[in-house]
């Protein structure tokens, strides 16, 4: 009945790949590096598939609930037999949990992760750091799967920090470039702020619940249904701070656009599809805490909606293809938080999954474009690539339609589920819904803007001769395009029912099928409107955008400079901190402590030397005289008892001036 799933293999296989490629990679032939790098996630994906088959088969074959097939009942828990932390009342085990939530997440992480590994073979083929790149990528998968499988907050925190490390390493992969190294540091440091919130949240959990295991926390909260707000709100807000750091929400989103300095597949895997969704996953995982704190939930919803529209407006005017996608990612993550904030966790996870498909695809298609035209990322220098890169064009089109929310592409279903859930949450929910729809309009517009500028019209760099990418890149593009088209057909209803044991049912009692259809039509019309505006501005009247920008110089500047948030943080946080640490380093540490110690030691040596040097007169006779006087003194002290006392007194009198 209870088969072994060997969950521990899922993280460990990529870790083995990391070790082999990281230690020996430079000496191994390239085909072997590739084989190891690809086999590790593929095998992990296989284990996940096996687990999902064993976990889901009884569900479908025998709906009566009497399993006739060898399977496992979810949630399935795998715990390391050795105790991990035993400190007083606190016992923490290293445990992995497979339930519906982690299963969905694992399928996304290992599946999309494997596709991006394949894509990377083509994209990074000529890079000198080929083995290093793949070892980092495998390391990321290791930590990400640990994060997803974690049965308690501490194991999750290990994965959480680990993916941050992998992200840092991969953003700064081309560390010779100062901007890339700086971007890596920025991502790491900004994430520390969020991690601080996560840590405080964990301490509060230990203090108030005495455990970090998710199921135990849920059980303890379930025993006391009246326990709302108070310390639970504080814990939930601390966890939200952590999630906002990892998932690039206001006010900690600033690291994600800079993270585009990393290789494009990394942007696709870590900074679009998987790692940045860890915050959403964490909120869904700890949803019982949020359910007990309406205030924390509304904070999540407001931050989500605000981030969604804020990032979408910035994306309108960016000219770097990857930056548009980065702000789009922030905006879509805002949607997911909006979904979490209205307690529609399954809708948020649904959007997380479809977003992983189409956003990874968008990034990979953008990477294919960048690869094709020799590293150029400026939209203003592209154009007319439709015929030169047919596969990239068609897959990208599928992704654009999906993210814009056109029926029947994947984004339509998941985005509508979130908006519908928001709409049902009373008056405040209607406001959130309105912002969500407005964001959908902006999303549709900037995505089609990108699409027109990249593929349509005439080439704006005639001397570049683009070439379609190799099959290792085209293959994953096509697979993800199929998923972007069809990934939403699971349907929110079925998906929600499936996830219900993990994250609770969707709060849609007050809704009706007719309302849902009506809202869907509104959303599609809004997306269409976005497309039409983009079509007008970038195809029919291409001079118009510049005119508008000239007519509204203030507004355009504000958007083009991303609301000057980086400058603001730079002036308010970074500069004072830098100045202070510079002061401490230069004056207190360097001048005060190090310089002072050196000066003191030198001074002591000089001072004693100045005294002792007088004995070393170099005069032979004076040495002999001292010798004779010394011998005479010894004789005197031996023969005359009171001489010692006398000598001491005279020595004190002379102040030890021996010479």
């Amino acid at each position: 009945m209870n088969a072994y799933l060997h969950l521990w293999l899922i993280p460990l296989l990529p870790f083995a790949g990391f070790l082999i490629n990281g230690i020996l990679g430079r000496r191994l032939p390239k085909w072997l590096v590739t084989a190891i790098a690809l086999l590790a996630p593929l095998a992990a994906f296989g284990v996940v598939l096996n687990a999902s088959v064993l976990g889901l088969l009884p569900l479908f074959v025998d709906p009566t609930g009497i399993p006739s097939l060898p399977g496992v009942s979810l949630p399935y828990i795998e715990t390391c037999p050795l105790p991990w932390i035993n400190a007083g009342m606190l016992h923490i085990n290293f445990s992995f949990v497979l339930d519906q939530l982690s299963l969905v997440m694992l399928l996304v992480v290992t599946g999309v992760g494997f596709l991006i590994h394949v894509y990377s073979v083509g994209y990074m083929g000529d890079d000198k750091g080929y083995a290093r790149y793949f070892s980092y990528l495998n390391l990321f998968l290791f930590f990400m799967t640990v994060l997803v499988l974690a049965g308690n907050a501490l194991v999750m925190f290990i994965g959480w920090e680990g993916v941050g490390l992998a992200s840092y390493l991969l953003i700064g992969f081309w560390f010779q470039k100062k901007s890339a190294a700086d971007a890596g540091k920025k991502a790491f440091i900004v994430n520390r702020i969020g991690d601080f919130g996560f840590l405080i949240g964990m301490f509060l959990l230990i203090a108030n619940f005495g455990t970090l295991t998710f199921t135990d926390i849920a059980a303890k909260l379930g025993q006391d249904p009246g326990w709302n707000g108070g310390v639970v709100t504080v814990i939930a807000l601390c966890l939200m701070l952590g999630a906002a750091g990892k998932s690039a929400q206001l006010p900690l989103y600033i690291w994600l656009p800079d993270a585009m300095e990393g290789p494009t597949p990394v942007s696709a895997l870590i900074h679009a599809a998987t790692m940045v969704t860890a915050g959403v996953y964490m909120v869904a995982r700890t949803h019982v805490l949020f359910d007990h704190s309406p205030f924390a939930l509304s904070v999540v919803a407001i931050i989500g909606a605000a981030t969604a529209i804020f990032a979408a407006t910035i994306a309108l005017v960016q000219n770097d293809i990857k930056r548009v996608l980065a702000y789009s990612t922030i905006s879509q993550l805002g949607y997911m938080f909006l979904g979490c904030g209205v307690a529609a966790y399954s809708a948020a996870i649904f959007h997380l999954m479809t977003h992983a498909f189409f956003k990874a695809l968008l990034f990979m298609a953008a990477g294919s474009v960048i690869h094709a035209i020799g590293g150029e990322q400026d939209l203003r220098k592209m154009g007319g690539l439709r015929k030169k890169l047919p596969v990239t064009f068609w897959t990208m089109t599928a992704a654009v339609l999906a993210i814009a929310g056109f029926f029947p592409f994947a984004g339509f279903f998941s985005k509508d589920a979130i908006l519908y859930a928001a709409f049902l949450q009373g008056t405040s929910g209607k406001i959130l819904w309105f912002f969500g729809v407005l964001t959908a309009l902006l999303t549709s517009f900037y995505m089609f803007r990108l699409w027109y500028l990249t593929f349509m019209g005439e080439s704006r760099s005639p001397d570049v001769h683009p070439h379609e990418s190799p099959w290792s890149m085209r293959g994953p593009l096509i697979i993800l395009a199929l998923l972007s088209v069809g990934g939403g057909w699971i349907g929110m209803e079925r998906f929600g029912d499936f996830l219900a044991p993990s994250v609770g049912v969707l709060p849609t009692e007050t809704g009706s099928a007719r309302l849902e259809i009506l809202l869907s039509i509104v959303a599609v019309l809004v997306a269409l409107e976005g497309w039409l505006i983009a079509d007008k501005l970038y195809r029919r009247k291409p001079a118009r955008p510049a005119q508008w920008a000239a007519a509204l110089p203030g507004g355009y500047k504000l958007l083009a400079n991303k609301y000057f948030v980086d400058e603001f943080y730079g002036a308010v946080v970074v500069k004072p901190l830098l100045g202070f640490s510079k002061f401490v380093l230069e004056w207190v540490v360097d001048f005060g402590i190090l310089g002072g110690a050196a000066w003191l030691l030198g001074g002591i040596a000089t001072f004693t030397g100045a005294i002792l040097q007088r004995w070393q007169s170099g005069n032979l006779r004076s040495y002999a005289a001292w010798l004779a006087a010394g011998a005479a003194a010894v004789l005197l002290f031996l023969l005359v008892p009171w001489a010692t006392v006398l000598a001491s007194l005279s020595a004190i009198h002379l102040g030890m001036a021996g010479h």
Binding site: L620, A624, A628
Partner: protein, 107 residues
């Protein structure tokens, strides 16, 4: 013969003579400028000590003191050989034997 000595010349006389010889050596060492004279003063000190050694050897009928004297003489001979060689070398190099002038190592 020995009893005659013991009766006629007390121990303290020998020791006083020894001390006088040693002190002469010390004073000579300290005030003389010529390296050879300084060298001779050292020999004088050694012999002053030798005298007290044999005196006590006689007094306590212990042969150790006499053995010490032989050792001291032997070392003195070796020292004389080396020392004189050095003095010759110094004289050849510096054309002087005044200890005050042999001061190349001085700061």
């Amino acid at each position: 013969m020995s009893s005659y000595f013991a009766q006629e010349v007390p121990l303290s006389w020998y020791l006083l003579l020894s001390a006088a010889l040693f002190s002469l050596g010390v004073v000579g060492f300290l005030i003389k400028r010529n390296l050879i004279t300084v060298f001779m003063s050292i020999e004088l000190m050694l012999n002053g000590v030798n005298l007290s050694f044999v005196t006590f050897a006689q007094q306590w009928h212990a042969v150790k003191g006499q053995i010490f004297v032989f050792f001291v003489m032997m070392v003195a001979a070796a020292e004389a050989a080396v020392g004189l060689a050095i003095i010759i070398a110094v004289f050849r190099a510096r054309a002087t034997l005044a200890v005050d002038r042999i001061d190349l190592m001085k700061l």
